[in-house]
């Protein structure tokens, strides 16, 4: 009798790679848990949107990203920045509002940027990142570079005009963009079927003739495999691709959300599919990872995040007279504070 092919079949993944994926997911999880504590302690202010439960998406997709590729994400982007290579220190210091942060305390949790890593921002306006991503793709295409822009956004953004204009332009001009829709079923308190006439989001992509696929966003291996195939297609010059990752956020939308729009039983059911726990169990079943591996990784991650928090804590505040710095490319500190254009350097 042929062995039934189930999800439980031995995955084709090396122990090293399994270890790496688990490590990346744990890094996000731990950083986010600490961020929540630090928010309560009022070290992190403003809005804070946690990625807990959705780690497999950023981790899986980022495996398919090369150095020359660009990243655009939303306000729920700490994890994306971290696994793209931004040091936890730079993220934490930014959320503390310190000048050692990735944006010198100008952007905060919702606006993480890093030019050298080609992280073109968390974007706090729903849908606001999509046209930027297509523009990044346009610039790469026009300049003959083979970078692909990976654009993460929530399913809530699909209701915005910016989504539709971006999808059309990307396909019309065959631009190298991977659209990654993180479908966690709720936009704040609005379930997808209360906001969309067509809830199969791949159909929307298809309507623009963009090839698409929906994947289990709780399964890091499935996400990675789908992202690799998608990136190969985009990289080979076949225009954009739409990847829907079906996932779930375990925490509130932000730190102020009584979560009355979903049943606790639903949340609990999804927690049974925790991307970290399920991945580890599966790897363990196939002797690819052990409890000792996990323990060691957790210790390593705790150390990394503790270090990041200590770094942020010890960080320094930007002097307030630098407030007006970076408004214009040529404005010296303090120049443009009263609405007058900065004096030219020669004057």
């Amino acid at each position: 009798m042929a062995k039934k092919k189930t999800n439980a079949s031995k995955p084709t993944v090396s122990p090293e790679h399994a270890r790496h994926l688990l490590h990346q997911m744990l890094r996000i999880r731990r950083m986010e848990e600490r961020a929540a504590e630090l928010y309560t302690a009022e070290k992190i202010r403003g809005f804070l949107h946690l990625y807990i439960g959705e780690e497999a998406v950023a981790v899986g997709v980022m495996e398919a990203a090369a150095e020359q590729d660009a990243i655009v994400a939303t306000y729920r982007e700490h994890g994306h920045a971290l696994v793209r290579g931004m040091p936890a220190r730079a993220i934490m210091a930014e959320m503390f509002g310190k000048q050692e942060g990735c944006c010198r305390g100008r952007g905060g949790s919702m606006h993480l940027f890093d030019r050298t890593l080609r992280i073109y921002g968390g974007n706090a306006i729903v849908g606001g990142g999509l046209p930027l991503a297509v523009g990044l793709g346009l610039a790469d295409a026009l300049q003959g570079r083979d970078g692909v822009t990976i654009c993460f956004f929530g399913e809530g953004a699909v209701a915005e005009g910016e989504f539709h204009e971006s999808m059309n332009l990307a396909e019309l001009w065959q631009l190298p963009v991977l659209f990654v829709c993180e479908n966690n079923l709720y936009a704040m308190g609005t379930a997808l079927d209360r906001s969309e006439s067509q809830t199969d989001l791949t159909e929307k992509a298809e309507s623009y003739k963009i090839p698409s696929k929906a994947v289990d966003g709780m399964d890091v291996l499935a996400v990675e495999a789908a992202a690799r195939r998608a990136m190969d297609e985009v990289r080979s010059g076949q225009g954009p691709y739409f990847l829907e990752c079906r996932t779930y956020r375990f925490r509130a939308h932000s730190m102020f959300d009584p979560e009355l729009y979903r049943e606790k039983s639903e949340v609990d059911a999804w927690k049974q599919r925790d991307p970290i726990a399920t991945f580890f169990d599966r790897m363990k079943d196939h002797d690819l990872l052990s409890d000792a591996d996990r323990k060691a990784l957790e210790a390593e991650v705790n150390e990394e995040i503790d270090d990041a928090v200590a770094f942020a804590e010890a960080g320094t505040l930007e002097p307030v007279d630098a407030l007006t710095r970076f408004v214009y490319s040529d404005a010296p500190s303090g120049a443009a504070s009263n609405g007058q254009p900065a004096a030219s350097p020669a004057s």
């Binding site: 202010r45 403003g46 809005f47 930014e94 509002g97 310190k98 000048q99 944006c103 305390g105 100008r106 952007g107 905060g108 949790s109 919702m110 606006h111 974007n123 706090a124 306006i125 729903v126 849908g127 606001g128 809530g156 953004a157 209701a159 915005e160 005009g161 910016e162 936009a187 704040m188 308190g189 609005t190 209360r194 906001s195 969309e196 009355l260 729009y261 505040l317 930007e318 307030v320 630098a322 407030l323 007006t324 408004v327 443009a336 504070s337 009263n338 609405g339 007058q340």
Partner: protein
């Protein structure tokens, strides 16, 4: 008079008007089942049902325009922007259709619509979530811009705004939603759009300030009083139409003026007041008008930078002393 939170006063205005007139409905993101992102519309879905308290997808351009269409076709929509920052996604509808259609159609269509939601700074949210829109939108002829500083004004002015046959932009504040104050429960309590309130009388300097800035001005006035200076504080309450007469009369008495406004300074409400005062009360002025505003800079995230960014009572005191030549 009952004490209400700012959010409750806004809700009371909407509820009373919706009870009075079936053509009024509320539409926006999370206004119904979630009871409002800031709980302004709490309970309204239960009271009025889903045909009059309508949740939208995240489609600002769409639902702002739908509201205008519905207004052209006989209804009186209240459109909530979760914050005014997101009205920029709806900009075309708010600035091209809402204010212009009555004019372009030679007066055939009225647009009785209220756009409302929280405006301005709300803590450390960084540049995209910190926009103060009063100067921007009051630049468009055909829009009215209302900006109350306390629950009672909010109720009276919102009721009037809902009854107004023209588009009214009603600007609230996330940081003030929990603020409590006595609110009139008089039958049919309304306040006219376009009348300022003299909140504090004084002879030494006029301070004009609306919304959150009003409270900075009042703090400053208290401090100045301790030093023997009597400030007159005027809350314009509506940015457009502007009750310049009340402000001018005050300046004719004090001969000095400070405007406090958390918006960015260039081409701003504060600049407009400065122009109008020099135009109408030039001979009464003993000092150039001074503005206390945010700098001409996007808002930062970091707490220390944000503290520097926002107008403070201290800056208002300094400005008042500057125009009184006592610093």
């Amino acid at each position: 008079m009952p004490e209400l939170q700012f959010r409750e006063a806004i809700r009371a205005a909407m509820v009373e008007e919706m009870e009075r007139d079936e053509d009024i409905f509320l539409m926006g993101e999370e206004v119904a089942e979630y009871n409002g992102a800031y709980k302004v519309s709490q309970g309204m879905l239960d009271q009025f049902g889903s045909e009059r308290v309508i949740d939208t997808p995240i489609s600002e351009l769409g639902f702002a325009g739908l509201g205008i269409g519905a207004a052209m076709n006989g209804l009186r929509p209240i459109i909530e922007f979760m914050t005014w920052n997101f009205s920029f996604v709806a900009f075309d509808q708010v600035v091209n259709n809402a204010p212009n259609i009555r004019y372009m159609s030679g007066g055939q269509f009225k647009i009785p619509i209220v756009f409302r939601g929280p405006n301005g700074a709300a803590g450390q949210l960084a540049a995209t979530h910190n926009n103060s829109v009063e100067s921007l939108y009051s630049n468009f002829p055909g829009l009215k811009v209302v900006c109350p500083s306390n629950p009672d004004d909010a109720k009276g002015l919102l009721k009037t705004s809902i009854r107004d046959d023209d588009p009214v932009l009603f600007l609230e504040s996330e940081l003030m939603y929990g603020m409590k104050g006595e609110v009139s429960d008089a039958d049919d309590y309304t306040l006219p759009i376009g009348t300022a309130r003299i909140a504090r009388e004084g002879d030494d300097v006029t301070i004009v300030a609306h919304s959150k800035s009003y409270w900075r001005a009042m703090e400053a006035a208290e401090e100045l009083a301790k030093e023997g200076y009597d400030a007159e504080v005027i809350d314009p309450r509506t940015i457009k139409p502007l009750d310049i007469e009340t402000i001018v009369q005050s300046v004719q008495k004090t001969n000095r003026c400070v405007v406090v406004d958390e918006s960015n300074p260039f081409a701003s409400f504060a600049s407009e007041i400065a122009f109008q005062i020099q135009d109408q009360a030039f001979d009464w002025l003993d000092a150039p008008l001074v503005r206390v505003t945010a700098p001409d800079t996007p808002a930062p995230y970091a707490g220390n930078l944000m503290d520097e960014y926002m107008p403070s009572a201290k800056e208002v005191i300094q400005a008042a002393k500057r125009v009184m030549y006592v610093d």
